[in-house]
Amino acid sequence: MKATALRYGSLLIILSILLLGVVAYRLRATADDELPRVQLNADNIGPRPIEDLTSKTVQRDYALAWQTMEQAVSENKSALLDGYLTGLAKEDFTKRVDSQIKSGLHAHYTDRGHKLDALFYSPSGDAMELRDHAQLDVQILDGGKVIYDEPVNAEFIVLMTPGADRWLVRQIQATNGEKP
């Protein structure tokens, strides 16, 4: 009787551990698929005021752009950049992915969010400049070995232009945060 209880008890514990493992894996997968958090402050934008819909679209598309950039440098797939990047931004990240492939490297970003300040919106609505205060955890891996792992508070100047149905990141440049 005691032996049977012990057997069932052990079985229950093993099943619970397996179940927890599956749940943890699923949670991590969901977190990876989540869009980075983006907050837009357009109080100082000019000369054109930003429309509500444009404001929402820019936040969504900037988040999607970061998601695809992070996936591209993590999986070394430059085709992922086609969706939300264009011009110099796409060119630069494609070069980065190509040289990562050549050197056997890849990067993993854990995105902790972006605070965007809209700086400029052209009178005709064909260009927008933003400053992004981003919080990221950056890991660089050579094969499977982590060679760099650091939390980064970065500042970027971003140029976005409208495409057919979305806003695209045209240029993104990290700055040291100093006022020019």
Partner: protein
Amino acid sequence: MRLLLTVVFTFFAALSVAASEIRVPAQVTAGTAITISTSGSGEASFYLIGPASANKTKVQAGSNIPVDSDQLEHAGRYVAILCASDGCTAANFFVNPAEANRLSFLVHPSRIPVGTPDGISAVAIVHDSFRNLALKPSPVTFSIMAKNEKPVSAARTSENGVAWVRLTSARKEGPTRLGAAIGHADEIRVVQQVAADACNLRIKASRDKRGFLIETDPVHDCAGNSVPDGTVVSFTESDAAGKTTVDVPIKRGVAKVEMPIDGRAKITVASGVVTGNELEVAGGQ
């Protein structure tokens, strides 16, 4: 005591051998070569990760590592990593944009009626020679060069790499060149300026076989530019039976229409929001 000293000496000696270090300049200007110094000994891997590159090379720890100017053309954050037998060490530095000497020039719209106040938006995005956004304030000169008119220019200082201006279109129709210049670099765009709305729209009537031929004088805007062919002119005839409107495009500078008219009638003309003169005619017997 001797043992203790040996242990302490061995500990510090081990520390000095094991700890590889890497020293980078804090700020670098785009397109400038640098040297990164390292400490330690033995074979090591050196990685340089930038906005558009991720390179790996074999080096000797403790040596100076030269980094060519072409590896530092993209402005942004770089990470230099040295991995030796004792582990990896890293240092970050920024590459700042070089002097502004290139422009991207966005002009909107490409076609505009003459004399539209602040109707043209011109935006210059300032770059250095490596196409980095040049963030230091730089003077940008915008100019508008209309046919047979004196060029007009306006100076603006770029802010965060962007300078912009609103311009009023010229008084004469035709292509107008818009320019933006910084240092020795300039960019030109052409905006087609078309006549504005019709002005002093006038019609005359003459009898023909089937009624009246109603014809406008050559249609011009208020600055004397010919309103382009294809612009629609509406003729409206009002008589005892009611109203009839005919829309006619301008052809060779004028719009004309044949109207069969019985009895007395009033004829008016309009193009867009502009109305012209009114005629009274009597047709039939």
